[in-house]
């Protein structure tokens, strides 16, 4: 055992009890990332460039979690004050209420629920630091007084949790509309609030009932105010975790559009035409049908992005170009998205006198995190009478 210099109470030595858990979590994350990356690397897929930012972000979040978990609250820090703790708890409660309210059926608030959940993560980090995560700490890391206090916090939290879950269950009983509400909320943001209550509610109660910390001793006060390098790194990482999605969302609007993949072109035919629309006269030999395809990817943004895979097929019957309908027929354009909304789309096909086809797709791309920003994207595919294809953005 050792004695805490701040309050003189007995504290059991933590030893290395937490190391296996940290190492295990690291191994688990490493194995998860390896499992995700291995098939992509082995297959030489171009998707790896798409998924790399996400993997990098997940790794950053994991490292941040590890660094933040390793930072202990300095005696006398403002986050440990009782009033600050209670403000954090009130903010968490308000955030949870907001998530539930924004999850009700028929409410479309865009990225606001996501922002509320991100803010909830930030508040949880603050609460964890304010209470030094004593509510869930292993037994060896808390002294007898703290053990008694957190047990008491759990006893107070239990009926609160039961009451909230009970209210949800009553909503399932009362009427069909309330049942629909309960199901919808549980199936969306309410589920995260349920997890929040399950894992954090005792910590919230503990933050409220824990007495104010004793004033720091003079020598500790100085140390508490000293900038802690690890704390600064942790704060920087937390800032990066929350700022990166915003920066990436801005990139959708700011970065120039680019054709990401290599343009390929090749012959699929020759095949024998047998379609009713063939210009061949009845009884005459079937014309040789020579078909070609073209593909390209147009990307907007990085990390948070919209990808436009452009696919075009056209055929020559002899020397006649056959692209029936650019918007619904042989030219297919679709969007794959990541944290962006796309629409409404507009397709304008133009056929020239010499048979060349031009199709222009106009879309509006809006990052979900920043719904007040948007960008018009025009993708024009031109197939000339000789079958040459150009893509303009």
């Amino acid at each position: 055992v050792s004695t805490s210099p701040a309050d003189g109470r007995t504290r059991r030595t933590p030893g290395f009890a937490t190391l296996p858990g940290t190492a295990g979590a690291g191994l688990l994350v490493g194995a998860f990332l390896a499992l995700m990356l291995a098939p992509l690397v082995a297959g030489g897929s171009s998707d790896i460039t798409t998924i790399l930012p996400t993997i990098g972000y997940l790794m950053l979040a994991f490292v941040t979690w590890g660094v933040v978990a390793g930072v202990r609250r300095e005696p006398g820090s403002w986050l440990g004050r009782r009033s600050v703790r209670r403000v954090v708890v009130a903010a968490i409660a308000a955030d949870c209420a907001g998530v539930v309210a924004s999850s009700a059926p028929g409410i479309q608030l865009g990225a606001i629920p996501l922002l509320l959940l991100l803010f909830l993560v930030l508040l949880n980090i603050a609460l964890g630091r304010a209470t030094e995560r004593r509510a869930t700490a292993p037994d060896v890391l808390v002294d007898e007084r703290q053990e008694a206090l957190r047990n008491h916090a759990h006893r107070l939290a239990y009926p609160i949790f039961a009451g909230i879950v009970g209210a949800l269950l009553i909503a399932d009983l009362v009427s069909s509309p309330s049942r629909e509400w309960a199901e919808h909320v549980l199936g969306s943001g309410g589920f995260f609030v349920f997890l929040e209550l399950l894992f954090v509610l005792p910590g919230m109660v503990l933050a409220v009932i824990e007495p104010a910390p004793p004033p720091p001793e003079p020598d500790l006060e100085g140390r508490g105010r000293t900038a802690n390098v690890r704390l600064r790194i942790a704060l920087a990482l937390v800032f990066a975790v929350f700022a990166l999605p915003v920066v990436a969302s801005v990139s959708v609007v700011v970065l120039p559009l680019r054709i990401a993949s290599q343009v390929t072109e090749g012959a699929l035919g020759p095949e024998v035409s047998s379609t009713p629309s063939s210009p061949s006269a009845p009884g005459s030999p079937a014309a040789v049908l020579s078909c070609h395809d073209f593909s390209a990817d147009v990307d907007a943004g990085w990390g948070v992005f919209a990808e436009v895979p452009v696919r075009a097929e056209w055929c020559f019957e002899g020397k006649v170009l056959n692209v029936e309908n650019g918007c619904e027929g042989d030219i297919l354009i679709g969007w794959s998205q990541s944290a962006v909304t796309v629409g409404p789309e507009k397709c304008t096909p133009v056929t020239a006198a010499d048979g060349a086809m031009s199709v222009t797709w106009t879309e509006t791309v809006t990052p979900e995190l920043l719904p007040f920003l948007s960008r018009h994207v025009d993708v024009q595919v031109i197939i000339d009478k000789n079958g040459h294809v150009e893509v303009h953005t």
Binding site: N151, A157, S176, E183
Partner: protein, 331 residues
Amino acid sequence: MRQVVVMGVGAVTTLLASAVPLHGFGIVLVVALGGLDILLLQATGWLAFRRGSGLDERQGALRDLAYRRGFRWIGLAMGLLLLVLFVSYLVVTGGVSAVKTADVDTGITGRILLATIELLVILPTCVVAWREEDATGPDEDEGDGGRSRRRGWMAWLVIPGILAGWLAAVVWLPIQSAPHGSLSVGGGPSNATCQEFAGGTMIGSEFGATVGFRTYVCWNGTDAFVWGNPRLPLLPSALQSAGPPGFTAPESLFNPASPLYSGCGLDNLSDFAAVGQTTCAEHIDATGTLHYTVKARVSPLPFGIASREVSVELVVTRTGKVLQGQGFEQS
């Protein structure tokens, strides 16, 4: 002994949360759970629910510890119950109708709801009971044995209270509608437009029974009719328009038995009350409007005591407009 009762509570709760058909006898499990709970509460001296002023320091510490352990067990126990529900559902249905039985949306079923309530109420007491060496006996209030004994037998009054509340709910609670849970498309005659309708009526809220229906209704501009249930024969006009001109096809060709589309009685839920005498009938009036009616008898007790007749009707015009039926009118 207390640990045996705790395991009994776990077993009955697991059975309640599973997908094993109860055929109207769910209330027996609830009563059994109530009895086990009372045994546990008396064995632990109601420690988890006693006020702090009546406890000594050791009892207060044990109670608070029980709540902390109980809180940790809630999430795990709920996850395990959902796993039991999923696995037992696959076992019971053979994995065949896993999607189709979700057609009628009855919300969180009464079984899951009661299992959740049971967990929330009894977990701290289970923790106290499991720590047998620490548990307090039933006669903690020395010199107040009379009050303790009175509380002992009064607790058992909860059982008839549960029975009375359940019976009152099934007999007197207003009927609630259970809307469709999912809609699927596809199938049906080629010359008609078809849509699946699913819904039902709940008696006794989640603690009674649900009379559900699923039916695949087609309309061709002349008539609306049920497809997929040969016991409800197609009109000659529907058969004639389904085939080439001048050719009337055999009904088995155009109206094969498709219970997953138009099964009768497949969507009844009879966990806490038996559902019997289910009949599905259609009537197509002179204007081609379909009146599809499902009738059933819901009996909470044997021999038809306190039973209720329930009827659900769906009315669809020959143009596919829904005039009546479980909220489909708005679609």
